[in-house]
Symmetry: C2
Subunit: 240 residues, 2 copies
DNA sequence: CTGTACGCCGTACAACGTACAGTGTCATGA
DNA sequence: TCATGACACTGTACGTTGTACGGCGTACAG
């Protein structure tokens, strides 16, 4: 059984337990497992990260993976923290809170675009990792100009990041999209007949929104719209 | 093989195909399957909704379930639409947009509190269901006082609902929470030693936020905070 | 009465995470 | 130097999941 998760998360820290030196040298390190799993997830989605394919990719036996990682759930935490550690954290300098928040939002949007699978990792233990904590610390600084108390500052950051996550999620084709597209010719007419004249507003707005979404015209309208709303929403805190 | 999903979604509509009258009478209807699955999901989470336990609950054989539902994925869509159909859609009357939006947010919060598993259903085909469409139509009306164009109106509603979803998700203990709590005595001190004096802001704010979250003091601070931000954010659209 | 559409069911398969019981290898304490 | 024991690694096996497939019996249409 490998070291506990907390030590695996901090495995690069000087104080991290190195583990005994006995026995054969490990052919792969925990970092390799995490990196390979991340590559798989980037390429084929989180569902493609199975212990078996991961082991094959690492050229070790299936069960060998458990030498470096306690469980698949732990692995996801390690992957998430490693991903968080990759985001750049440039000092904000003299920027005002608006451009700071904008920078944070953009960075997270890019992160989630690179690693869509992060949307499917919801494990509280991620908060224990060095990458996650460093990122959190940095992002809190985006809000210091607003001079909020601690609880409010945390809530404000959560508010921003939740928007980014939702926005990123909308950009991903969800389950059943293929089915829908495949049957749309039949189902579309069927649906129209069911609807008849009812729900006119929904039909009109839905059609317009759907058209705008897949048309090349302004692909990220929703992003700019939402981010503007977020900033306007936070603006009320500036004067308080 | 049962009827296609679109017809199952609209199975209560007068024009829905009734299916032939031959063969033995069905012991359960699609609606029963959906209702039972919903009960299971409410009580034990979506993971507890397996075809086998569902069949046992309905007192039929495992494979019989597939007579009434095409697949588990389809079932989730049916469950989601049925849940959407339960929300009340009271006319807004003379209310202004602020209280309308507030009502929509509250209704969705209550819905997600009743059926937490809705957070785990992300299937685009849900949008085809009568309950979902009726709900969408109603919620769009919350924004009509703002007099937005169709695309913006849809984006604004999405903005509100995404906030509610994120808020609801935060209220649910995520995976690994048990593990975390179990090992916290050891891991807490370990983490403190790893952190040392670094990331002071994160430590301070994180501690305050964590304390406030589990303290009885103001359990839904984040909700009120976020909703206020959302409303403030939308306010900018009123004057345009 | 007969054909057939339809509800129901038992068996079986592939894939998953992972527990368990090893086997072999190497640094170390005697 | 040698025995000890820690450690990386592996094969087998179990329980669980969704569901494809084929068969069986029922009750209505002709």
């Amino acid at each position: 059984m490998p070291r506990p998760l907390i030590d695996l998360l901090w495995r690069d820290h000087p104080d991290a337990p190195a583990g005994g030196r006995r026995g054969p040298r490990a052919r792969v390190a925990t970092g390799d497992v995490v990196a390979t799993a991340t590559r798989l997830a980037d390429a084929h989605g989180l569902a493609a990260v199975t212990i078996r394919t991961l082991a094959a990719e690492l050229d070790v036996s299936t069960m060998s993976v458990y030498t470096h990682v306690n469980s698949r759930d732990d692995l996801l935490v390690l992957m998430a923290d490693a991903a968080h550690a990759t985001v750049e954290l440039p000092a904000f300098g003299r920027q005002g809170w608006r451009s700071r928040v904008r920078a944070v939002a953009d960075a997270n949007r890019a992160l989630l675009a690179r690693h869509t699978w992060l949307l499917d990792v919801a494990d509280e233990r991620t908060a224990l990792g060095p990458g996650t904590i460093a990122k959190y610390d940095h992002e809190l600084r985006a809000l210091t100009p607003l001079d909020l108390d601690a609880v409010t500052q945390d809530a404000a950051l959560t508010f921003v990041l939740d928007f980014v996550r939702a926005s990123a999620r909308a950009a991903v084709p969800t389950a059943g999209a293929g089915e829908l597209a495949a049957h749309w010719p039949e189902w579309g007419v069927r649906l129209a007949s069911y609807l008849g004249g009812e729900f006119g507003l929904a039909q009109q707005v839905g059609a317009a929104a759907g058209e705008a979404q897949q048309g090349t015209r302004d692909p990220d309208f929703a992003w700019r719209f939402g981010l503007a709303r977020v900033l306007d929403g936070l603006a009320g805190l500036a004067g308080a």
